[in-house]
């Protein structure tokens, strides 16, 4: 390559040093706001070595928190998955009035503070409400018990699957389904053998994000949980308790599991986007 070519710069491009400066600026910014916080979680978690880390995780209260977090996700994610499929089917395959409004309502939980998401259930089932005392007299505990935690989690993770599927199924239109139906497939067969395979990666993408949020939700759950150790403590709440007790190694050990979950989620999400394109895996957040 001649000297002449190397110094040539497209007029629609920045100079080498401008580029270098912008990349460096971005990296410094990300170091302070993204990478150092992430690394610090693991450094603090392993500050006292492997044994302390391991002990913090098998301690009964931590173990109970892990189990509760998994239980809540196992209930909340499938319910929102079924809802997402139903809502996307109705919205993408049919034309009806008020569709845009319905989509806005589905997105609503994203614009509500997590604390308020918890508060609405406290007001609905709390001592001053109509429902709470009646349910209590029939032996049903919602608030400060597992059902309340599940409800609050469903609330905050409500839109995740639906908002991935709706644009995807709208793009795909109704041609495939109409072809299947005209060839004699039943409605259920059409859904199972035609629609579902068409949207499976978008569905997986939505479930992935839904699950990450369900396991990591803090604000909404903290309002309804009552934070009873070993009973209504999820992993994020357990992290808070340990942190406030200045038990840093244990707090960061539990937190490192959640951080690991976030990293696995990101890796799978990136893999889906690379293999199936951002379009197949929804584009909007």
């Amino acid at each position: 390559m001649s000297d002449n070519r190397r110094t040539f710069r497209s007029p629609a491009d920045e100079g080498f040093f401008t580029k270098l400066a912008l990349v460096a600026l971005s990296l410094v910014f990300l170091a302070f706001f993204l990478f150092m916080p992430l690394v610090s979680v693991f450094v603090h978690a392993f500050a006292d070595g492997w044994d302390a880390y391991y002990e913090a995780l098998i301690e009964p209260d931590a173990w109970a928190a892990i189990q509760l977090t998994l239980t809540v996700a196992v209930i909340a994610v499938p319910l929102n998955l079924v809802f997402g499929l139903c809502a996307a089917w109705a919205i993408a395959k049919f034309e009806f009035k008020g569709k845009a409004f319905l989509i806005t309502l589905i997105d609503l939980p994203f614009s509500i503070s997590p604390v308020i998401s918890g508060l609405v259930y406290v007001l609905l089932f709390g001592t001053g409400s109509l429902l709470g005392p009646w349910l209590k007299s029939h032996g049903v505990e919602i608030l400060f018990a597992v059902p309340g935690i599940v409800l609050a989690t469903i609330f905050v993770t409500f839109p995740f699957v639906a908002r991935e599927l709706i644009p995807l199924m709208q793009d795909q239109g109704t041609g495939d389904e109409e072809a299947a139906l005209s060839l004699g497939a039943s409605g259920w067969q059409t859904f199972w053998y035609v629609t579902l395979p068409n949207v499976k990666w978008g569905l997986l993408y939505g479930v992935l994000l839904c699950n990450a949020r369900a396991m990591g939700e803090f604000g909404a759950v903290s309002v309804v949980s009552g934070r009873i150790r070993g009973l209504t403590n999820t992993m994020p709440l357990h992290v808070e308790i340990l942190y406030n007790e200045y038990n840093m190694v244990a707090a960061f050990a539990v937190a490192s599991l959640l951080a690991l979950l976030a990293l696995v989620t990101l890796a799978l999400k990136t893999l889906l986007e690379l293999r199936f394109g951002a379009g197949a895996a929804g584009g909007r957040h």
Binding site: F29, V41, I112, L119, E177, L258, A259
Partner: protein, 285 residues
């Protein structure tokens, strides 16, 4: 949107005829689930708030501590969104235009704030920016954590992907010929970027700002650890809701929640207006 156009031609009919089955079932389930999980609980909150009456509502709102908490929440969220507009746009530019080692990894990591549980981010930032933390100790005697500045730091983390992910797709679609045309017409690179490229990106940047701002106002988990939570100084509105709830002051919690909810609805409206305006002006976003 074509959906609304076809809905209009359908006249008063609820939906257009279609051979695809399952409309009643899926829409019925979606609406029931939406009502039970979201609409009825949120309506309950507004109902409880209406019971307070204007004077009761107004008394809580104009309480000095409430006003300060709202000021802290909105002020810090605004500043953080502003910082994110600058660095988020630069980051989006660097990620779309430049090729450097680690670009893919960084692109994937931008979504970390979406995936990392807020409580984990909260304790990580608190430990990092505390006076004895890795970053906090660099800036001593100037304190970052446990001041309103700490809140801004946490909210920058939370809001970053909103700006990057709204601006990035538009940057990818920019036609290089536009820049070349500007250059051949005598514009220098600076002029091309600020007079030709950025105006087209304004709606996306504004949307990103609004999304980051709206999310920051309601954020709880990542903020409370680093904020210090000093009443009148670094106490955010969602935390004040939690404090009122713990005092069994349901009226107080309800009133603050209602005003926050109304403001976030207004924000949602603003975001939709920006997008409608930019669709009219610049084509699709």
């Amino acid at each position: 949107m074509t959906a609304s156009a076809t809905a209009n031609t359908a006249g008063w009919r609820m939906k257009q005829p279609s051979i695809i089955p399952g409309f009643g079932l899926t829409l019925g389930f979606s609406l029931t689930y939406l009502s039970l999980i979201i609409l009825i609980p949120v309506a309950g909150l507004l109902w409880r708030s209406a019971e307070l009456g204007w004077s009761g509502f107004f008394a809580i709102l104009t309480d000095e501590r409430t006003l300060r908490a709202l000021y802290v929440s909105f002020g810090t969220a605004f500043l953080a969104a502003l910082v994110n507009v600058v660095f988020g746009t630069i980051l989006a530019w660097v990620l779309t235009r430049y090729r450097f080692p680690g670009r893919r990894l960084i692109d994937a990591m931008v979504d970390l704030p979406f995936a990392l549980p807020t409580a984990v981010a909260g304790i990580a930032f608190a430990a990092l920016y505390a006076p004895n933390g890795w970053v906090g100790s660099l800036f001593m005697p100037f304190r970052i954590a446990f001041t309103p500045l700490g809140i801004v730091i946490a909210l920058i983390f939370i809001g970053l992907p909103f700006v990057v992910r709204t601006v990035q797709p538009l940057m990818e679609e920019i036609d290089r010929e536009v820049e070349e045309a500007a250059a051949t017409l005598g514009a220098n690179r600076f002029q091309t970027i600020f007079k030709v490229l950025l105006p087209g990106l304004t709606p996306a940047v504004l949307t990103g700002f609004a999304l980051a701002f709206a999310r920051g106002v309601g954020e709880y988990g990542s903020v409370i650890f680093i904020a210090g939570n000093i009443p009148y100084v670094s106490e955010i509105a969602p935390l004040l809701i939690v404090i009122r709830l713990e005092e069994f002051n349901y009226a107080g919690a309800t009133a603050i929640a209602t005003i926050m909810l109304l403001i976030s609805f207004a924000m949602l409206l603003v975001i939709n207006l920006i997008q409608a305006w930019s669709r009219r002006r610049y084509g699709n976003v």
